[in-house]
Symmetry: C2
Subunit: 193 residues, 2 copies
DNA sequence: CCGATTATAGAGACTCCTCTCTAATATTGT
DNA sequence: ACAATATTAGAGAGGAGTCTCTATAATCGG
């Protein structure tokens, strides 16, 4: 029906992930992506309406890939303490398996021009956010934790703490020490009490 | 001896802090700083050799201001558990008192073009880093924690965890909830065991 | 083989930023 | 008053990045 494409969307997003991991969101420019895959800049604009759309797509594809596996792990154990600890371990393991994507997630959506996203992109981001909040609220309820401070403590234990453990290494492009998964599990368990 | 200056170094760095807190390191451009204080760009170049030097100075001034108070708090209690918890509480309190500077510190030196800094700037950064590592090693020793995993756990408890507690709010430009200092102290105490 | 369709290809306008350079200006010591 | 000096003031060259626009190329159904 038409000319076959040499550069498809995922290939361009893969290049964007590499650039983001290496130089941060600022390094994700249309011309840098084009150069990485050997395409002219026009081909990148053929796939993405503009730089804002590219940033939104690379962020959302990455965060949705992570969340998919994270929800599965969190829901895999009926005991809330074990589920929380397993989710923390999973965050570290996933970061080890996907260091570039994990390095990208250490930035925030704001660094990927979230303020300028289209309605559709913003909606996707909100949806993911909503599901995470709901999962954490469920966990907090199962733990019998009450009040906003307790909810925040759960959120820190399950999400922010494992991210802290991997942040420095990923930013530096270094591999994670072997014991990091265990450390995440222990610390999260300690905070869930 | 000479014409008095309308724009001094601290005034320009203050503007850089505001810009970094608002738009991240990418927003700290020579022209943006000049515009903030109402100066022509030439006046900014009169104070700083280039953008790299400005980024280094704003990062170092901020991190050194924070560390100065942090060391005082950490060294203020001979009991290592209480000292660690107090340091965690202090990080939150300092962030509440200096939200823009704290928002800047949530980025890393790498985001402030650390790779391109002058020797002198790099040396200042290394010195601060070294002092922090030494303080944490002292704390770990006083706690009887042995091995790299235990050292990392102390470092997470005293540094990364309180930063996690303030990260989301500071990035969003929101004020910290009232209970955050208590939460930091509790979580750090829980991790120090 | 032809027309429709979908891509690639890349030139070029436009904007924003960095940095340099020259000129003008205000203050101090003599 | 005058020289010396530190600083403001701002024009403008040069580079990087975004985005638009036109031309060209490859594939498929008929």
């Amino acid at each position: 029906m038409a000319r076959p494409s040499r550069f498809d969307t995922d290939q361009l997003l893969d290049a964007a992930v590499r650039l983001a991991a290496e130089s941060g969101p600022a390094g994700v420019t249309m011309s840098a992506v084009a150069k990485q895959v050997g395409a002219p800049s026009g081909s990148v604009y053929h796939r993405f309406a503009g730089r804002t759309a590219l940033l939104a797509e690379v962020w959302l594809r990455t965060v949705e890939r992570f969340q998919e596996s994270w929800f599965a792990v969190l829901g895999g154990d009926p005991d809330p303490r074990r589920a929380g600890a397993a989710a923390a371990r999973h965050t570290v393991a996933w970061s080890r398996a996907h260091p570039q994507e994990a390095a990208l997630l250490l930035y925030g959506a704001a660094d990927f021009a979230r303020a300028e996203w289209s309605e559709e992109h913003a909606r996707r981001a909100d949806e993911g956010h909503r599901r995470v909040r709901a999962a954490l609220a469920g966990l907090a309820a199962a733990l019998g934790a009450e009040g906003p401070a307790a909810a925040e403590r759960v959120s820190v234990a399950v999400i922010d703490l494992p991210l802290s453990l991997v942040r420095r290494r990923l930013r530096a492009g270094e591999p994670l020490p072997a014991h990091t998964e265990d450390l995440a599990e222990e610390c999260t368990a300690a905070l869930l009490g």
